[in-house]
Subunit: 290 residues, 2 copies
Amino acid sequence: MTSELSFIAALRSLASHPAARGLDDDCAVLDIGGETLVLTHDTMVEGVHFLAGQDPADVAWKLVATNVSDLASKGAEPVGVLLGYQLGEGDARFIEGLGEALAHYGAVLLGGDTVGGAAPQHLGLTAIGKATFRPVPSRGGARVGDGVWVTGALGGAMMGLEALRSGVGDSTAYRRPVARLAEGTALAPVVSAMMDVSDGLLLDAWRMARASGVCLALDSATAPLACPESRRAEALRWGDDYELLFTLPPGLSPPVAASCIGHVIARPAGGLQMDGAMMESGENLGFEHH
Amino acid sequence: MTSELSFIAALRSLASHPAARGLDDDCAVLDIGGETLVLTHDTMVEGVHFLAGQDPADVAWKLVATNVSDLASKGAEPVGVLLGYQLGEGDARFIEGLGEALAHYGAVLLGGDTVGGAAPQHLGLTAIGKATFRPVPSRGGARVGDGVWVTGALGGAMMGLEALRSGVGDSTAYRRPVARLAEGTALAPVVSAMMDVSDGLLLDAWRMARASGVCLALDSATAPLACPESRRAEALRWGDDYELLFTLPPGLSPPVAASCIGHVIARPAGGLQMDGAMMESGENLGFEHH
């Protein structure tokens, strides 16, 4: 079995279309007619991306939200989705949640496929959006001197998962994440780079640094938290919050509520610095799936 | 667990976009930027749609071919695909076969997602094409008096699967099906209805009859076979041949090699007649997955 990264590296050699800006990104960007489409596909597996026994309506919601979050990071507005669905016990609830999420984001179900089969349940969703601003932001545009910003607060999904598991507290942030669609559209014309924080702030910041060929220097204390201060180190590594991470040229302020959490420096290219210390990619930067 | 059909019926209530012509079809049709896009998503599961232990290069080829066949049935030319891939033992071979298939069909890998997890392996592919003719053919356009036609011959995939399982004979037709892309493009301007034969001629003909509100009257002896005559009844029910089933107004001949296998009559609406006898939907009309 190859690792995810080496498989993607091999796949990239197949992605030669001039209009496709590369698999390293969360989305494909495709110029069609007079429009620019943004396309993304995410797979969720029971026991990996959602809990066995979780309310299928919440699972459906999250499947849509994670894909729409990818569109949001490109400043794209959703058009529709195609669903790859493995039939299971909770089909009616799944359809309820799917309908709620599609209505919330103004997307429609364009098509898809269903299969049978045993657990764990596999779900795939392809989301198609239209770019509202061109060029479409990428994660590769951060420049030395830029400020590093993040919308919202981190750690909410972590607390929500604990609430869901324990039955105590509010699990909404984990069960029903909200993609930053309006923020993405407002930010697209002004950012130098943008992506969503799906796999943890540190891991995603490191990916942005690598894609941009720069170093992101973060000040960990400046990241707003949706969890107790004692959980800060975990919150920066926890996924599923779906906030937007972006860079802005120096002196610019974002048109939406967001926090400046660092700035871009030149070296080492592809590096990540936190509170003045270099982070190594071998360290646990994120990518936790629960 | 709901049945596939009732799940799709429930999903259809979510497919309200005016440009989306409904989930009952294999593809979504979406007008965007002056172009008409055709989108399809197919899922393949190890042990259901392909054999455990099958060469992953063949599996990748088939995953692409089945989706491109859906595009072909709409007269669309492939643009690109998004892959939902579950990492496994044969990743390098999978990538080889994927590259071959994409090159063959002039499509590129636009993006996707990978997941880990245990067998059975789940694979999803979304294919995006551009319509070459508008309006895009649907399965719902067959009219009374039309001729019913099919490209190529049936039963090849059945023989190929037997060859693959036994190790005797040529398994190519099962392992490496070829989507009728050129035929689909040539046929799109002249057909009244079109779809691909993925789940068996009889089942797919019945679906066309139902979508068109007519009855398809087939003459079973006229369907060309890629298997011994003694296997005719099976061949008409076997899937995976990916030929094109289409109807033409009376008197028209198709611009590609094809066989007339029947004609369209009025009643019963949504019915299927073979050799003068009505077929019941409860009978085994096809949809065999091996």
